[in-house]
Symmetry: C2
Subunit: 445 residues, 2 copies
């Protein structure tokens, strides 16, 4: 993309309403614009990152054997009356009446709707196991929306639901989700720690939240420092292998790691003192096994191999897709702006032309742009007639991990400059080598 | 995908509520499930086609230089009061009150919101031309939703908005949209004819609707039969070339082609009688140039090169993404089911194992599955223990354009059968050649 043809409305001023770094930076970098309290438009740069995160979630869910579909944003109130949650949910549920006076709502989650779909079509244990998921806009009418996309009212979420014959099978589905979530977050450059959580209104005894450590997190967290040494890495996983998935669960959840909701001081004190940590965390996902809570209430049953009709065992599993943008920025920024991890960066590399209008500099930039694009990379070329300082400030603000700087002086020596946003380190190298190096960085991402 | 692990709830019975073929077939093929009047869940097969269509729209819009972003589903009523449309829109607008008593609405379209975004950031003619678009769920509270996704209440639409300094520039944007729409529809296997249309509540003198001819269309259309001979084909187009885009507009709109709303009998009678056609059509898109209607009402201005502040010239341009599934099926089906065009088919090819459990047949199917997948193709392998008749009926119903049939008898002669869904023609060939042929069919699609 050539910046002169893009829509990147960066702000010089820091918006007064933004209290935390991610909110400030998303506004300043022209990623979002508030259109109503807690409701945002995703400007082109923000939309691009949102799609990258969504794609990672899709890929990892499908790798785990989970099947994508899509439920609507608006739901009929009837299903929620059947589960008993219509009255329980309180004012956070946005209730709507249509022109015929029917009670509707903007879905805050989808246990009822997916259970209705399941019971409409599935009747035999032979059709199990089954895990369906979707990524869709949801609405929670927060009384005080704040922190930008971190606590918006209209938000984008992946929610998946497993249907299994037995508790054992459902716990394997639980473990598959845990593994696929670990992989997803790591691909986004995040360390998200699974912590034992509270069931809340969805219910369930087995539930873990995934938390990203950050000063601005809404939850206080308590953990054994060994949990931050764990990484999933690029190990091979067979999602059909029950023991293997269970092994990952044990590896990642056996040490103490809890939020303030489930924290037990006595247990925490059993962790050696030098490894006890207290910090703040941002919740970016949660997995639940809740057994037959919804299947019994809504009569979602299958016939088992003894010809008995039994309610299915279910769980639900969520990733906060839009919220993740905020979490990633909270975990990765500096005074100058955002520092995108390579896995989610909106553009792979920025090209800064120090002397737009200079034939040689323009030609070198065009050649770089074409070479990078030909390799399947997605560069952002700042081809505006601006001074270098302004161009650097914009690139630093929007946080592309790599920048190639092209100027007449370097070109005389046959070199351009490749700069790492995170370390600030630069090296001079030929344009060809710069392209090759960027391609190597992104190989396999 | 192996069918034994997929969720494809095909129905044997024809649902009574469905009046037209596309609605019946989408229900029977397990693509959608109604969750409330005019509101559908997209089951896995339907979701897959929806995404294919969405991707074509994204690719063609970006090829035309239009910039993707995303506006929210819910909007504040204030902006609609500013444009004067809040009261005009009538009962089709779903009005919502949030917990603080604020008036909101579920966006049926986005002229107001995009104009607000534009005026918040853009102040100079130097930032023009600019075309922003998004693909988002919308809601129109139809009094009698029907025909499945063709006339739903919650629907998925691409809407794009151009901002230009002059009428001339805005008409070039109009032409770019016309060209990109022609390309998009053709990639979906559709002939959509641009017809002069009526401005309706959006307003505007320059507007064309794109109509797909089908008996079940909601509009009566009148046209010169020469328009159905026109195809865009794979010609090269430079979207910056004003004359070239204007030439395409003239080529595709100079002959008589109108809906009942704009039909003029006297003009129609000037078409030679043997070329006059009357038929029915399904609207799958519309483009508008409406000048300064919204920019004046909402004060969206830029400073021009004479330092004068002038309202921008705008247009809006929509493609009915979810409705297109219905339109494609109306245009392409037979008694047995759907016939997907290759560009939007949910899976590229079906593999039918005639004797599941037979070692040789199973191994041959697995090998085919792996070879196709390795080439980047997406096969659906029916690996269920069902009789052949049921497997063929399912494949015909869900409409994959190509099917490879594998059975012990053929394998003895070293052959499998490749069948074209549309013509019903089959040929016997080696598994390797079958894979090669399928790969050739999809090369470049």
């Amino acid at each position: 993309m050539r910046l002169s043809r893009y829509f990147l409305p960066v702000l010089k001023e820091t918006p007064a309403e933004a209290q935390i770094a991610s909110h400030r930076l998303m506004l300043r970098a022209g990623m979002i614009k508030q259109s109503a309290a807690g409701i945002y438009s995703w400007l082109p740069l923000g939309f691009k990152v949102l799609k990258k995160i969504e794609n990672i979630v899709h890929e990892e869910q499908q790798r785990a054997g989970h099947i994508p579909m899509l439920m609507p944003t608006l739901q009929s109130a009837d299903l929620w009356r059947e589960s008993g949650r219509y009255d329980d949910y309180g004012e956070e549920m946005l209730r709507i009446t249509d022109r015929h006076g029917r009670d509707m709502l903007y879905g805050p989650t989808n246990e009822e709707l997916i259970t209705d779909i399941f019971r409409s079509y599935v009747g035999s244990y032979k059709d199990l196991p089954l895990t369906l998921y979707h990524i869709q806009w949801k609405f929670r009418d927060e009384i005080r929306p704040r922190f930008g996309v971190m606590r918006g009212r209209e938000f984008y979420m992946k929610d998946g639901y497993n249907f299994d014959l037995t508790k054992e099978d459902a716990l394997h589905a639980y473990n598959r989700h845990l593994v696929s979530y670990l992989r997803s977050y790591e691909r986004m450059g995040l360390q998200a720690i699974p912590m034992r959580a509270d069931g809340g209104p969805i219910g369930g005894d087995y539930t873990h939240e995934f938390l990203v450590l950050a000063e601005t997190g809404e939850s206080e967290v308590f953990y054994d420092s060994e949990v931050t040494d764990l990484t999933f890495g690029d190990r091979e996983i067979d999602y059909d292998n029950v023991e293997q998935c269970q092994g990952v669960l044990e590896e990642f959840t056996s040490r103490y790691a809890r939020t303030d909701e489930t924290h037990e001081e006595a247990l925490f004190n059993e962790v050696p003192e030098e490894r006890r940590r207290t910090a703040r965390g941002i919740e970016v996902g949660q997995i639940f096994y809740f057994g037959t809570k919804y299947s019994e209430a809504m009569n979602a049953t299958v016939v088992n191999d003894k010809q008995e009709r039994v309610p299915v065992h279910m769980g639900s599993h969520g990733i906060g897709v839009s919220r993740l943008l905020g979490a990633i920025i909270e975990a990765s920024h500096d005074d100058k702006g955002i520092i995108w991890p390579e896995g989610v960066t909106p553009f792979h590399v920025g090209i800064v032309n120090l002397k737009q209008g200079d034939d040689e500099a323009d030609a070198a930039c065009e050649a770089l742009y074409k070479s990078l694009t030909a390799l399947g990379l997605d560069p952002l070329y700042d081809d505006r007639k601006e001074r270098a300082g302004g161009k650097f400030a914009t690139m630093d603000l929007i946080g592309l991990p790599w920048r190639i700087t092209v100027g007449p002086r370097g070109l005389k020596n046959g070199v351009v400059e490749l700069t790492c946003r995170k370390t600030g380190e630069s090296e001079e190298l030929s344009p060809e080598l710069a392209v090759q190096k960027v391609a190597e960085i992104y190989a396999g991402i």
